[in-house]
């Protein structure tokens, strides 16, 4: 099995030459914005570490089994690396090219080490390609996962941010909605509003949709559901802040908002609510 030893020995013996060549390839490939996000020293450190781990892990022309400590360390290192890249704002192709750019220097080194043996060289290159492809795919998968986690967290933050229920008056709650309404958000909005109604014993809730950019049938459906749930609990609901375009859309969509009190702005809604709860404002 001469083929297998060649790859491992190239990785071990020529690591310095490989590193230098690899650094040059990457420096040429990176554009200005990527270069500004990370220094050459950082990149060199990462490359060196990756090379060390790789040469430990490569045995017999392929990666050692996934459960061996060497391979585990290599995979963990790549995961860590792609997570860092994801948060630094690198694109997925930039992250993947970290691994793939290593192919060229490695192939060159293999070629010079294998001499005239063309068949042996082809085998070596195939083995090396398989290893690097697997590592590259792993990096991209982790990168994607890290990105998804980031997006999920931001979505959660947004949900928490966007559902304040405020008490306007004794027995009158207001819910200023901001941003696009989807099922998940409406569910949370509905739950927090109903919970607040129970806690405060309020009779009237005003849902203000001034900050909602568009209303489609689904959003309207959600609003109607909220109003119905409020009525079932024995509270009343007023929808306010309906902009001219939204009024037009609602009618064009054929959404039936009859039985729901609607007002053009929050002030009017508050006036109605005060009247219904028996308060009066003088002056």
């Amino acid at each position: 099995m001469t083929t297998t030893d060649l790859l491992a020995s190239v990785l071990r013996k020529r690591s310095d030459a490989l590193l230098a060549e690899w650094m040059n390839t990457q420096a040429a490939g990176l554009d200005g914005s990527a270069r500004s996000r990370m220094t050459r020293e950082e990149l060199e450190r990462e490359c060196r570490q990756f090379l060390q781990l790789l040469s430990k892990s490569v045995q017999g022309g392929k990666l050692a089994e996934a459960n061996t400590p060497e391979t585990q360390a290599l995979l963990r290192y790549l995961e860590e690396l792609s997570r860092t890249r994801a948060t630094q704002g690198f694109s997925s192709s930039e992250t993947a090219s970290f691994i793939f750019s290593f192919k060229q220097p490695l192939f060159v080194a293999l070629r010079s080490a294998s001499g005239k043996d063309a068949d042996g060289l082809a085998d070596e290159i195939w083995a090396a390609t398989e290893i690097l492809d697997a590592l590259g795919l792993h990096t991209v998968a982790t990168f994607q996962k890290a990105r998804e986690q980031l997006i999920n967290r931001q979505q959660r933050d947004l949900l928490e941010l966007s559902t304040p229920v405020v008490s306007l008056w004794q027995g009158i709650l207001a819910l200023p909605m901001i941003g696009t309404l989807d099922s998940a958000r409406t569910q949370i909005v509905m739950e927090s509003l109903l919970q607040k109604i129970v806690e405060t014993g309020s009779q009237i809730a005003i849902i203000d949709i001034t900050g909602v950019p568009t209303v489609d049938t689904q959003v309207a459906q959600h609003l109607i559901k909220t109003v119905t749930a409020l009525r079932l609990m024995g509270a009343e609901c007023i929808i306010s802040g309906i902009r001219p375009q939204i009024a037009q859309t609602i009618v064009h969509l054929g959404v039936d908002l009859q039985g729901v009190t609607t007002k053009a702005n929050l002030a009017d809604a508050l006036a109605v609510a005060l009247k219904r709860t028996g308060h009066s404002l003088n002056g």
């Binding site: 129970v198 014993g201 119905t228 749930a229 079932l232 609990m233 024995g234 509270a235």
Partner: protein
């Protein structure tokens, strides 16, 4: 056999559901309540479901039915104290209980019953 007690307060009836409703119990309540309305000539019935934490479509329809039956017998019905989770469930089941009057708590429910009864007398 367990039953849901129906208490009489003047011309009103008070029903407090304190246990988990199952179908048989719901049907029994329907029988008992309609019978009591006729026996006492009640003008209003207040159903407190604040302890009810789970509903299905059957119980939802039962609430709606009881209210319609009472209306036929010239008795106003108010359902009070529905929990948020129950309200959401009913809405998601598509049961908006049209024609059923609701109130936040027993106190508000009683005053609503009085207004409803007063309106009827005024007619």
């Amino acid at each position: 056999m367990e039953r849901i007690p129906i208490l009489r307060m003047g011309q009103f009836l008070l029903v407090t559901i304190q246990v988990d409703m199952h179908d048989q119990l719901a049907l029994q309540l329907q029988d008992d309540l309609t019978a009591s309305i006729v026996r006492h000539g009640a003008k209003g019935a207040l159903i407190d479901i604040s302890a009810l934490e789970m509903v299905d479509s059957f119980i939802g329809r039962m609430l709606s039915d009881i209210s319609s039956m009472a209306r036929v017998l010239d008795c106003a019905t108010v359902v009070v104290g529905m929990q948020p989770a129950v309200a959401i469930t009913l809405v998601e089941l598509g049961l908006s209980l049209p024609g059923v009057s609701t109130a936040l708590n027993v106190e508000r429910g009683m005053s609503l019953l009085r207004t409803l009864g007063f309106q009827r007398n005024g007619e």
